[in-house]
């Protein structure tokens, strides 16, 4: 078992544990903090896959900007442990069983897949995740979607202001 495998398992355990803690935390602020832990673990996975640009963007956009927005809204609403009404226990159980069945079906599908046998992921090397190569592709082949995404941001900004406005 080499270093990369140990890192993979450690990051996987951190990601899954933090994701489960997002669900079971009563306090929404704790949920947000655990979700930041998930994002850090996923960024670690990106670094392990040598996708350095996506790792940094994930940290800046998700853990930095989006989670701060969530925390800001939660603190604005002053939510605490008592504010969430609980679903009925049978509905919770049904949801957990449905999610578990989904997981079970897909795992069995992946186990039987012939196409995925003997395929392996290039870990630690490979330079397509570096900013130089991604930037070249982004500003040559993908320049139209890149510009369209700026229009999307503008419309999202206008939409958020219009929805959030008083009355």
């Amino acid at each position: 078992m080499d270093t990369i495998q140990i890192l993979f398992y450690a990051l996987t355990v951190v990601a899954l544990f933090s994701a489960i803690m997002v669900l079971v935390s009563k306090n929404p602020v704790h949920s947000v903090l655990w979700l930041i832990g998930v994002f850090f673990a996923i960024s670690g996975h990106y670094i392990l896959l040598n996708a350095q640009f996506l790792a940094i963007v994930n940290l800046i956009v998700y853990a930095g900007a989006i989670m701060v927005l969530f925390l800001f809204v939660i603190m604005l609403m002053n939510l605490n442990n008592q504010s969430e009404p609980q679903k009925h226990i049978w509905i919770k159980l049904a949801g957990a069983i449905a999610g578990g069945c989904f997981l079970m079906v897909l795992v069995s599908l992946v186990r039987q897949a012939v196409d995925l046998e003997h395929k392996s992921v290039l870990v630690g090397t490979g330079d397509i995740g570096l900013i130089r190569n991604l930037g070249k592709a982004l500003f040559s082949d993908f320049v139209v979607p890149f510009e369209i995404s700026s229009v999307l941001f503008l419309s999202a900004m206008v939409g958020a202001v219009v929805i959030g406005k008083k009355d």
């Binding site: 640009f53 994930n58 679903k87 949801g95 190569n133 999202a156």
Partner: protein, 111 residues
Amino acid sequence: MPIQYYIYLCLALFSIGIIGVLTRRNAIIVFMCIELMLNAVNLLLVAFSKMHHGAAIAVNPASQTGVEGQLFVFFIMVVAAAEVSVGLAIIVMLFRNTHSVDINFLNRLKN
């Protein structure tokens, strides 16, 4: 590292997100679980991109195969950021009208 490990990890994260959407009533937690599902898909896209890149550079060492997958993840992050801003504005509006973030209040859209 076999691709199956990454698929199992992403499936587990995605299922945790689904269970969260199905079992919680706080709109913000539901929204966070949707973000969790998006991140699981992102991780799987990067893993598949590296899988194809590894297969391609075995043939041609200067190959750039797999860049598309990582750029797709980048665009998913762009769309997720826009979605979060609008979604949180909707949740703030819901809270202002009902003084609660319980998603069962949205039942009134039914009639």
